[in-house]
Symmetry: C2
Subunit: 221 residues, 2 copies
Amino acid sequence: MGIKERREREKQATRQRILDAARELYVQEGYEAMTMRRVAEKIEYSATAIYVHFKDKAALIQELCAHDFLRFAEVLNKVAKVKDPVERLRKMGRAYIDFAQEYPTTYRLLFMERRPAEVGTTGPDGPEQGNPEQDAYAFLRQSVQEAKDADCFRPEHQDVELVSQALWGGLHGLVALHLVMGPEDKWIDMRPLMRTATLMMDLLLEGLCKPSRSGGATRAR
Amino acid sequence: MGIKERREREKQATRQRILDAARELYVQEGYEAMTMRRVAEKIEYSATAIYVHFKDKAALIQELCAHDFLRFAEVLNKVAKVKDPVERLRKMGRAYIDFAQEYPTTYRLLFMERRPAEVGTTGPDGPEQGNPEQDAYAFLRQSVQEAKDADCFRPEHQDVELVSQALWGGLHGLVALHLVMGPEDKWIDMRPLMRTATLMMDLLLEGLCKPSRSGGATRAR
DNA sequence: CTCGTTTAGTTAACGGCGTTAAGTGATGGT
DNA sequence: ACCATCACTTAACGCCGTTAACTAAACGAG
């Protein structure tokens, strides 16, 4: 009696086609282009067909976010094998910037757009909040915790949450400024993102770590 | 023959009423609430009357931005009297966070919303680009330049633009994260903005400045 | 004084948006 | 053979930004 299963599979396939079309529109033409009507047009359905699969546009976006949050966490976890927690933090920073530069519109969706609701409490196959392999912030916090436990940090920097947020915020600010200003803003001559980000990580980690550490990064010439 | 002048004054007054209504809507109810129709309704005009005074919605927003950029620069310039450039940078950071917390929606408008065009090249009474009293970034860059000229920085940090953007980006990232996540995000337990920002400034300035400087800030207990 | 011009404002309309209500038609179970 | 289900469609509503055509008042010039 695989009939019901087949129907269910077909429904999920359509659902997936909606998600794919939405993501493609968003990535290629930006937030404003991701219209219910245009998504539907892309898969040759009527606009209202989407509402069979998603409660509303927010739910559709939320599902896109959940998926991309997971992918983002996967990318960051590529440096999980690095033993030294401080060195790992540095590499996480690089991976963070790489991701932002490779998928700028996705980065926008995840961290710069008005959050539809909470992204953490997603139902099916969303990122498991607190699991470092699926939750990028949890992974960051874990590395900071390890650095602290390994006694890398100066005694005044013991608040893991505070340190994590400073590191994240520092990089996020640089990315956000670059994304919001566009490449050719006449107001400000933006330095290359990776350069500023490297400086940011060097300064923050140098200030966080005990002076004994011989600064894992090559100093800017 | 003050007739023409009176007419012109009346027109400017209406124009100003439009701007005020738009700003009020934006500040109190956010970006989405600032529609042409609602702005018009607020001043008891028809929606299309706005187009007599502004080319389109983007022009209206641009003018709001130009005004608020100037106000923002004024706020930052309150610390201009501080002699020591590094101490001034620290105080600028505080003023920056204060502004963001006092006028969160304005901050959004200035630094987080999709830029309608360039904000620098505004016509009448917009911020004069490059003038530290009217252009907050120019003011930041000037202070960084002074700090460098006063030999406060380590020899490897000579790129004024790079350093300015790192300082700005660091604070902007923290503000942006706080604004995008809302006060009660279940995903992340955000530390108070001013605490993270203070840590950010301390770490960055400590890393930028020569170790000889006895660190103007009280160390976090 | 009158006539023509200018102009701040109006109403009506267009196309696009998200979303709801009602209908349709194929499919599968009984 | 009939009925129920349900993925999907069409029609419509109330928003949005914006344009076109019109109105009416005020002014300058003859």
